[in-house]
């Protein structure tokens, strides 16, 4: 609507510069109630100097035919063990507690000293008609096994949590790059102009690496992930301090509008002043309406029970899953959910056992709910951690074993639009130490994810720091085996 001043540093050759906008839902939650303002402007035509430019979040055509419109990304932070969830290794039972020494130039302190192979404390079964390998403690997920496509060929570069998280979330280990959700909303916009295009539902405690995991990096601020905080005010300072009523605030806004209007007369050419005035009105309406969106009261009681809402230990993640469905239903392009931490160096039986209990029922309910509503075909679901875990253990401080970090093997699964459901792609060696077939760097997973959403990684670029940057960093390939 109105241009604002922009900054040379973040400005790129083809980036929106002065003709960028404000009413964008911007850096965090945008406005909720201004659909009427925007309804007429959701065209995706290129802006020209004199035409009214479109919102940066207006829906745009992708580069390719999209198999899915939206994405729900289930981020299991901490690194869930593939060996104890979806990639059984019976060989480890034979080797249980056999000692060995890890060698090689790539050895870190984590891998030094005596190490022992350890078997999985979990039993496995084959679930669904597809016979997917799923550990028995995933009681609910087995019901939707035939909707899942497991991928065992992925590898990453980093063994530390934040760098691996950054790589999974942004493609760049060292942080500072845009998150997948930022790239996707930059490429596709978002169907609902009343909500941010990229929403994050973090744990109460932020993951290692913090908010940079959903940052917009060098992309314009409109594409930043908006965290809806799990406790307290969902968005910081969404409401004024206690005692300040909406009428009270309205009076202040009216005075502000008067002063700004008078001021604008002396600086009429500078459109960003009007844009900033609009932002105040939009924010005011937003603070009235956001709470309703988060309110799950009107959802069916049985459905909520199905998600595990109201019961422990599923309540927290159940709420996130149901909220994710509501957001996707309302056209939010990209929703990322966090659950963790899966960093079970010790007591993996207890630690992973508890975590699975927290997420198993909600995830199965989410998939079933989306399917029942006909949304599964248009939604891509991704489940992953930042890396897998080792078949062996250094038996650090604990009295019961767990597993260490492993960038060479992990399991991700996909479900929904365009995904080859009911299949397991790729394999790890007999110990689960390394991927051995259909090996792909995580960049290829990113390229594939974009492809499913109708985006070509090689075209989804932004000029920054002297070159066109892209999610995969330097290009990658679609993992065709994952596609239906």
């Amino acid at each position: 609507m109105k241009p604002y001043f922009s900054c040379a540093g973040r400005r790129a050759l083809h980036a929106p510069t002065r003709r960028d906008f404000v009413y964008s839902l911007g850096a965090s939650l945008g406005s909720v109630a201004f659909s009427s303002l925007l309804a007429a402007e959701t065209n995706s035509k290129l802006q020209t100097q004199n035409s009214k430019p479109a919102s940066p979040l207006a829906p745009k055509e992708g580069h390719l035919p999209a198999k899915a419109k939206n994405c729900i990304f289930l981020m299991m932070e901490g690194g869930p063990s593939h060996i104890d969830t979806f990639d059984p290794k019976p060989k480890l039972a034979e080797m249980h507690l056999k000692e060995f020494v890890r060698e090689g130039k790539m050895k870190s302190a984590m891998e030094s000293g005596k190490r022992y192979y350890v078997q999985s404390p979990f039993k496995f079964r084959r679930a669904g008609q597809s016979g997917a390998d799923i550990a028995e403690n995933w009681e609910h997920l087995a019901r939707v096994a035939d909707d899942l496509c497991f991928f065992r060929g992925a590898q990453v570069d980093s063994v530390n949590h934040p760098t691996a998280m950054y790589q999974m979330n942004t493609g760049n280990r060292f942080g500072g790059d845009p998150a997948i959700g930022s790239w996707v909303t930059y490429g596709l916009g978002s169907a609902n102009q009343n909500l941010p295009g990229f929403i994050v539902l973090p744990e109460v405690s932020y993951p290692q690496g913090g908010a940079a995991n959903w940052g917009n990096g060098f992309l314009p601020a409109h594409f930043q992930g908006t965290p809806l905080r799990a406790k307290g005010s969902p968005i910081l300072d969404l409401t004024p301090p206690k005692g300040i009523s909406p009428e009270h605030q309205r009076q202040n806004l009216d005075l502000l509008a008067k002063l700004n209007t008078a001021h604008r007369e002396t600086h009429a050419q500078h459109d960003e002043l009007a844009a900033r005035m609009d932002a105040y009105e939009l924010a005011f309406r937003m603070q009235m309406e956001v709470p309703g969106i988060l309110d799950l009261d009107k959802e069916d009681v049985r459905l909520k029970a199905g998600y595990g809402i109201g019961a422990e230990p599923t309540d927290a993640f159940g709420r996130k899953c149901l909220l994710a469905r509501r957001l996707v239903e309302r056209g939010v392009r990209f929703v990322q959910l966090y659950a963790g931490t899966w960093d079970s160096h010790d007591y993996i039986e207890r630690a992973h056992g508890n975590l699975v209990r927290q997420v198993d029922q909600p995830i199965a309910a989410l998939l079933a709910d989306l399917k029942q509503r006909g949304l599964l075909d248009s939604t891509l679901i991704v489940w992953c951690g930042e890396f897998g875990r080792s078949p062996d253990n250094g038996v650090r401080g604990g009295t019961a074993y767990g597993r260490d970090h492993n960038p060479h093997a992990m399991t991700l699964w996909f479900a929904g639009g365009g995904v080859k459901a009911g299949h397991t792609i790729g394999a790890t060696d007999e110990l689960g130490d390394k991927a051995v077939t259909n090996i792909h760097h995580i960049r290829d997973v990113h390229v594939t994810l974009l492809n499913l959403l109708g985006l070509d990684d090689n075209k989804l670029t932004y000029f920054h720091g002297g070159r066109f940057k892209q999610l995969s960093q330097f290009g990658g390939q679609v993992i065709k085996e994952l596609l239906a």
Binding site: G26, G30, S31, V204, S205, L236, P241, K242, A351, R467
Partner: protein, 973 residues
Amino acid sequence: MKARALTTLLLTVTALSPAAKAAAPTAPAEELFARRIQPLFKEKCLACHGDDPKKIKGGLDMRTLVGLLKGGESEKPSIVPGKPDASPLWLAVTREHEAENWAAMPPKENDKLTKEQLAWVKEWVAGGAPWPDAKRLTEIAKSNADKWSAEDGIPVKTSGGLSPEWTNRRYKPENLWAYQPLTRPTVPEIGNRQSAIGNPVDAFLAAKFPAGLKPAPLADRRTLIRRATFDLLGLPPTAEEVTVFVQDKDSDEKAFAKLVDRLLGSPHYGEQWGRHWLDVVRYADSSGFANDYTRGSTWRYRDYVVRAFNSDKPYDQFIREQIAGDEMLENSKPQTPNPELLVATGFLRMGPWELTGMEVAKVARQRFLDDVTQSVGETFLGHALQCARCHDHKFDPVPTRDYYSFQAVFSTTQMADRPAEFAPGENTGGFEEKKYLEQRREFYLAQLKRLDDKSLAAARAWYAERKFDVKVFEQAVEEVTGKTGKRGREAGYAEVRNALARKGVPEAQIPPKLIGFAPEDYGHERIARKGLERLKWELDRFEPLAFAVYSGRTPEVKAVVNPMRMPANRMAVGELEETCILTGGDPFSPAAKVAPGALSVVGPIGSRQSAVGNDLAGRRLALANWIAAPDNPLTARVMVNRIWQWHFGQALAGNPNNFGATGKKPTHPELLDWLAATFVERGWSVKAMHRLIMTSEAYRRSSTFQSRDAAMPTSQQLDIGMSSYLTFKPRRLAAEELRDAMLRVSGELNPALGGIPVRPEMNLEAALQPRQVMGTFAEAWQPSPKPEQRHRRSLYALKLRGAGDPFYEVFNAPSPDLSCEARDASTVTPQVFALFNSQATYDRALAFANRLVTEAGAKSATGNRQSQILTRAFELAFNRAPKPDELKTCLVHWDAMTERHRTLKFEKPAPPRSVTREAVEENTGEKFKFTEPLEVAADFVPDLQPADASPELRGLAEVCLVLLNANEFAYVY
């Protein structure tokens, strides 16, 4: 579809007689192939279409004409000689025919063909796509060598690329502007009015004014003093300063020059311009990544930068100190040690870095080397050297060899926090807050003691249960009690177990580790243990240490969990790194060895190039001297370009960190060169540049543009006006300026300079937001106890990489992970929440109101007094008096809000004394709670609170809140 069918037909026909077509080429197309097309295929296509015959993508082999005519998997010939529009090759490289299934080629956006290259392809196909044989190609090349060489741009001598093609490639002269020797261009004459233009800056700008548009008039004095004060100090002028300047009887020029002098003499100047510098170098007080450990002594580097600007330290000296201060110190006379030289080298370590036990040490070391190489190149030379880490630079004459030569300068650079006495100019106040850290230490120790006692008790039960003899255990307890364990604290259960093992007690008869732990105890133990580790980093803040480097061998380190210190035998122990070209940037794939050096495209500067020797020490000083040499063409240009940008909000060369081919070309190259040459001539004085630039008419022009051309839309004229400096470009205040300006007008700002970082109040929920760091949770943000500590300038606020203050982030403060060449200023809705809804702004507004009422005293009658108060409010916030209708509106609002406040009751908020968190324990996967004490709360003195204010004062505060949110407050014109 019809078109495609036809194409196929044509292709089939032509494919029958390729030889015939090729046999009768037109000469220009043949020449074009030799000169352009073959090299282009090699550069852009053959990697996937022929270089590796076993992996030919899409089945298309482009090594021969036969291959091209055969086509790929589509089974259609890729070219139809004579018919570009029917040739898939052409359709693919245009990137415009994807709808017809001709995928864009090359696939990556970065590799797409230029307009010129596209024209060659089209012309070659149209000319019959001739493909002469090797012999003919050689003949063509030979006979045209001189002509091509003259036309194809300039070869550039470098140390040489990984391939001869790269080494011999030619560059467009316009992409080499930054390497040209720096000469001082003649100041242009404008018509015959040379004498009328007093400042050469204006002469250079006027020479490029667009036709038909005239410069805006000079801004009025009120606007100018606000502009200049924010520019140089990052603060608004006081009402008194405005009056003095407006009433100055001297000419506008003279009065403004005096103003600039006064501002440059203010100690706050260094804070504002130091902040710009800290954006570029990525200043932060923590290390980022998994642990985000506190960096105790970085604040001394921050203050060094402020002092450097304030004292107008010559920029060449500033460069040398930051790159090689430690080496300069060693070379200097021992009688005059200057610890500041160590502090300055903190620059080299500003990037995020850590080495956890999870990571391979060599990989982490390489991360440091890559970071410092990139940072020095970007900061001082305007070159993103990282582009040449894995391959020769795609666009610039920077070979990978140079990248590693540059890096070799740092291969003996090691990180350490080194002893450096506090200098007289440093602020060492506020050290008493160390007591809070000591309290925290006691807390953690008590936690561990409690858990130890629990384990000891459980161990005794364990013995009883098994009916083992507990005597040996009790002996061990006796032995270790009162001793210091290996973690530097009182020995406990772990040491008892060790003692038992030493006594030869079989493992089966030693009670297990962490025995007796309830599920939440694992978390408690970890938080206390890791908390003690984290405190060590924070406690360094109060020690006379410099966040610095030294030259020496690379020590063997597996993990860095304590602040690093310099080893005694740094020249003898550890690896002497020999830098090699790393294939693909991988430290485990070394190729050819390289010697330390600088950028070969710039070449030797005087005797400087050869001075980078192979000795352990002295490499950095040699490089610094090379960079800071007056005839280094990049250095001065890069810095004056930054200075210009920080004054005008737009740079002359649009990407201050990138002077290479992909950076924006200078809009006014002669002006840039003239400024750079002048900068060097005037002894690299940054303040001289300020005086020169700010006294120009361009700097003093109004931001209100007089539209001249009825045919052109106003917004377009304004764009042109601003980019050609016909009119001044307004700007929104940066995040720090916004907060500092609020504190200034509210009268709360504590103008003290420097010192350990302070913690202003942050949104309480953000302050207490739990945050995972490696193995534990980071400490809560506890605001400094005293208002005067909290109300320091934003520059001094503790800056943690893992927990940025949402207020700064939402107002576009850059992340300290990437160098920021210029700030963004986008308007997004959450800014409204941060400025209009936050407790912080309400607090500022109330303090502002209180200041107004206090200063007004009780002397005059109500109506008049209220007007005086509001007039003063406008003068402070906007540097002008209110207009009558504004005054009236505000009066009405004040009264209305006062009435409203008569019905409102506010309670005094009590700062929380502790925070209880729920977390998932990684050992058990179970939720557990832990309580973190908030020690500072005991001494916390709140700002003036609504509960302490009268309804009248609170009513006035509402007016103040609105003023602080007004556009006129947030923008500088």
